[in-house]
């Protein structure tokens, strides 16, 4: 093995904690991430966990990044190896020159280590066993003890961690002091027995600003509260369950009548995803704002209802926290793999609206907006989250709400309008935008009622199997889809410093890795214009962006290039010009991956003039 000098870096490295799930490590690890953040240094943590409750390996990765690169980086500079089960793999994954932190209570054979890393042993078990007798305490405090040792090794301010512990155990003095005590046990041992600090250091900075630290699922749930959702029907499925849980806890705080204590919302855990979407459609049909949260398998189950929503034109909001498919796939791994199954969900000719938030901030905005769009367009709106955004804390811009904003309830004919004699045809295109007026049940004693059905009908909602009436309706649905293009969030373009014939399309959770990769590619001399797609159907600027470039890289996290397929299909572009850059092993896409994949392509595209070769 080549000899590597120890990595020496300040505020720019990756620490990975290898734990056993159910061991209580998650809160200590999160405390570590928050402490770095409180020191003014941006972090990007990621949970890598199994579909299991206790006993299987789990990892928590913290990227410490003064430059603010919030995508996964790839590679590990320091491994906190607390799981013997994954030891070999964990040790092997450390970058040359990196650090291995481990529990040195039991001696390990030298074959278990590597020559080109720095090994930092702390006898964690010995310390805990000599201090605590209760087995559960031993387990929990061991985590805080390694955090204390890390604080010394990485030159972190212990006061910051103490403050965080203080906030966590506010009012529980005994727990507070025992946690602080454990922290210092570890810290003091490291200071006395190891050379502190090591080459990796956290130094106070001011790069966090007013940003907040929140999980995408929680932000989306909060968006649903602000967006006026009153009915949530859902069925537990990883990685979306925490979204419904978050909606429940946000509502408990924000949606009870202060005088009576009554709830201004209804949350029902359905018996399955079919019931969940059925309740959403029933509630929306009846004029409430309703949503469900699910993942890929749930989308599969909801197909028939989604077709009903499209054809009978009933609003619905589905928050799809994507995970790796197909079938049960990898339930705790991330992908962007439901684009096709959502965009064209259900049998027959259908097209649906998808929103692609890049982070929790946009998850909040788009979640709230989804309800306006659903009611305006009277159809299903998919909020396309994924596990990477949904289940990880992400540093993002603070959430914002404009108090002057009013909900767009769409075209709803009121009792007064009906009374005034306004012609009501449920499927009549009065404004030429493909969107018809609807009435809520119970509006007027004699006017405005109609029979909602999934079968074909005429403009006045009367059952018909006449071909022209059916085709007329299908054409109107297409006009409505056209209208949607200007209502959904527009793509955001960023151009290279110099004019270029190469472009990149990307979306959703790929965003932070893409931003970082652009910097890496520019350093290598590759100029690329970027367009971040934020919704389907595509705004006209997507077609012009593609037209303006010779080659477009389409970067996404699935095997089949699903966004690329949508672009080819909906805009009618020669597929040869769209180069797929695909990452789909279930881990979040990294800047290193993107930069290498695009860099390799760019090199291939470089044509060396023949006369240079022969001369």
């Amino acid at each position: 093995m080549p000899v590597s000098s120890p990595i020496s870096r300040i505020n720019d490295f990756v620490v990975r904690f290898a734990n056993v799930n159910g061991s209580g490590s998650a809160s200590a690890n999160e405390l570590f991430a928050r402490a770095v953040l409180r020191m003014g240094v941006p972090v990007s943590p990621r949970n890598i966990f199994p579909s299991n409750i206790q006993g299987l390996p789990t990892w928590y990765e913290v990227r410490i990044t003064e430059a603010g690169h919030l995508g996964a980086r790839g590679g590990v500079d320091m491994m906190v190896a607390m799981n013997p089960q994954t030891w070999d793999k964990d040790v092997a994954s450390i970058e040359p020159g990196g650090y291995l932190f481990y529990d040195s209570t039991k001696p390990m054979p030298s074959s278990k280590f590597r020559a080109n890393i720095t090994v930092l042993g702390v006898p964690l078990t010995a310390i805990t066993n000599s201090t605590y007798t209760d087995p559960r305490q031993r387990q929990l405090f061991k985590n805080i003890i390694y955090l204390g040792a890390l604080s010394a090794l990485l030159d972190m301010d212990p006061k910051v961690i103490e403050t965080l512990i203080g906030e966590q155990y506010k009012g529980k003095e005994k727990l507070l002091s025992s946690n602080v005590h454990a922290l210092h046990l570890g810290r003091d041992w490291a200071l006395q027995n190891l050379k502190c600090p090591i080459g990796l250091r956290v130094q106070k900075s001011d790069k966090v600003g007013d940003r907040i630290f929140i999980e995408g699922n929680s932000a989306a749930a909060l968006g649903a509260v602000y967006g006026g959702a009153t009915v949530c029907a859902w069925y537990p499925i990883t990685p979306s369950s925490s979204l419904a849980d978050a909606f429940t806890s946000h509502c408990k705080k924000l949606r009870h009548d202060p005088a009576t204590g009554k709830a201004k919302y209804a949350i029902v855990q359905g018996e399955d995803e079919l019931a969940s979407i059925g309740m959403v459609i029933g509630a929306s049909w009846n004029g409430a704002r309703a949503f469900t949260a699910t993942s890929g398998p749930g989308i599969s189950l909801m197909q028939e209802f989604i077709g009903l929503s499209y054809f009978a034109e009933i609003p619905a909001v589905i928050m799809d926290v994507q995970r790796a498919g197909p079938s049960t796939g990898m339930p705790t791994r991330t992908q962007q793999c439901d684009l096709i199954s959502c965009a064209y969900a259900s049998h027959g000719d259908t097209k649906h609206i998808l929103l692609f938030p890049e982070d929790p901030h946009e998850a909040f905005d788009f979640a709230a907006q989804a309800f306006d769009l659903a009611e305006r367009l009277q159809t299903t709106i998919f909020l396309m989250l994924d596990l990477d955004i949904g289940m990880n804390h992400r540093l993002c811009r603070p959430l914002h709400w404009d108090d002057n904003k009013q909900y767009d309830r769409g075209k709803v004919m009121t009792a007064a309008a009906l009374e005034a004699g306004k012609d009501f045809g449920r499927y009549l295109d009065v404004d030429g935008d493909g969107i018809s007026y609807r009435t809520y049940p119970g509006t007027h004693p004699t006017k405005g009622s109609f029979f909602t059905r999934g079968t074909s009908r005429d403009r006045y909602a009367r059952y018909t199997e006449e071909g022209p009436a059916y085709a007329d309706n299908m054409q109107r649905l297409l006009r409505k889809f056209e209208t949607a293009k200007d209502l959904v969030p527009r793509p955001l373009q960023a151009n290279a410093q110099k004019p270029t014939k190469y472009g990149v399309l990307y979306y959703g959770s790929t965003s932070p890795a893409m931003d970082e990769a652009i910097g890496m590619l520019e350093a290598l001399g590759h100029q690329l214009d970027r367009l971040r797609i934020r919704a389907f159907p595509f705004h006209s600027s997507v077609a012009s962006f593609v037209a303006d470039h010779d080659f477009i890289y389409v970067v996404e996290q699935n095997r089949d290039g699903q966004l690329r397929s949508l672009v080819v299909n909906e805009i009618g572009i020669d597929p040869v010009r769209l180069v797929p850059i695909l990452h789909y092993d279930g881990t979040p896409i990294t800047a290193r991956f993107i930069a290498k994949a695009i860099g390799d392509h760019q090199d291939q595209l470089k044509v060396t003039p023949l006369r240079k070769v022969v001369s």
Partner: protein
């Protein structure tokens, strides 16, 4: 499908209810079902029940699944919103609608294929949840629109029109509803209007999950000898335990039946049902006894009809969820959106 427009004029002397509506105001389009279909009798019973209860027609939401029975909401209450949803999924759609607006009356119309076969799960779970609704299963034991296949309520040993004998055991919807916690359970027969109309009325007034299994023979595919859902068979094997005679208002009721045969049943909302008992031992408040009674008579080949169970102080889903009295669909941003100041506080807590 034929489409017939019903003439709008009617006899000027048609009786009116307390709201001034006539029967005609509760009718819908002309039925497209087969002549003599039991379902049309149920439609007539629903019309009669709503007329007699003086319900404002537009305050009813009628929701169905798919099948012959699920088409019927088009044939009654033409001024109500109707929703012919997805096969077997009426219960979830209705549950959602009910959550959105607790002030409407919810009528769920389904069939045996819709509720006992494809939608058995949804039927079960909406009963468990106690959704305030009237759930009517128009039960003919057969698939009509697809021409005569058995449904899950077809009795074992019964013969299809094509001569096939059903080898699978039947699902008894009322027994299941009782077990799942429905707070109002009844069974009736489409051919017995006298029994059916008051049951529908009582179910509508009931504040909770009310389930009615109505045996409704299929004239086209399940009315032959060998069928256990034919008019003849049901008439011969019907064991009516009671009749609801009057079901009105919230005031004391005078009933002129011989003492000992009439029982007054209080409902949670203050309405009173007068129950004319045909079987002296039958107790409509005893869930367990009802289940045993039904099973006991089923073993003898008898179909027990009447009001089988009612829970006087039933609770509904809104009660469980502690929702505000105002329908959720009437709340605006003023009531729903916590505003920017609350969001600033949330932001501060996330740093």
């Amino acid at each position: 499908m034929t489409y017939v427009v019903k003439p709008k004029f009617h006899h000027p002397e048609l009786p009116k209810n307390s709201l001034g509506f006539t029967h005609r105001d509760y009718e819908g389009k002309v039925s497209t079902l087969c002549a003599g279909c039991g379902h049309d009798s149920i439609t007539a019973a629903i019309i009669e029940a709503c007329f007699e209860l003086s319900i404002e027609p537009h305050r009813v939401a009628k929701i169905s699944g798919i099948g012959c029975s699920s088409k019927t909401p088009d044939y009654f209450l033409g001024n109500s919103h109707g929703f012919n949803s997805v096969h077997g999924r009426m219960p979830s759609v209705l549950t959602g609608a009910n959550l959105a607006n607790r002030d409407l009356i919810y009528l769920g119309v389904s069939g045996d294929g819709d509720s006992a076969s494809i939608g058995f799960g949804q039927f079960a779970h909406c009963m468990r949840r106690g959704v305030n609704m009237t759930y009517i299963v128009e039960n003919n034991g057969v698939y009509g629109l697809t021409k005569g296949q058995f449904s899950a309520t077809a009795d074992r040993g019964s013969k299809s029109k094509r001569g096939v004998v059903n080898s699978e055991s039947a699902i008894d919807m009322v027994s299941i509803a009782l077990q799942l916690g429905a707070s109002f359970v009844a069974r009736s027969f489409s051919g017995d209007k006298k029994q059916l109309v008051p049951i529908v009325k009582a179910a509508i007034e009931h504040q909770g999950a009310a389930f009615i299994d109505v045996i409704s023979p299929c004239i086209a595919f399940n009315n032959h000898s060998g069928s256990t859902k034919s008019f003849d068979y049901v008439r011969e094997h019907n064991e009516a335990v009671n009749y609801l005679d009057v079901m009105v208002g919230r005031a004391p009721i005078h009933v002129d039946y011989a003492p000992g045969t009439v029982e007054l049943v209080e409902q949670h909302d203050g309405t009173t049902l007068a129950l004319r008992k045909l079987n002296a031992e039958y107790d409509v408040h005893d869930r367990l006894a009802a289940m045993t009674f039904i099973q006991h008579h089923a073993a003898k080949g008898q179909i027990v009809t009447g009001l089988l169970y009612v829970e006087s102080d039933a609770a509904d889903l809104h009660g469980h969820l502690n929702t505000v009295p105002a329908p959720l669909n009437t709340l605006s941003e003023k009531e729903l959106c916590p505003g920017s100041a609350a969001l600033e506080k949330i932001n501060a807590g996330l740093r």
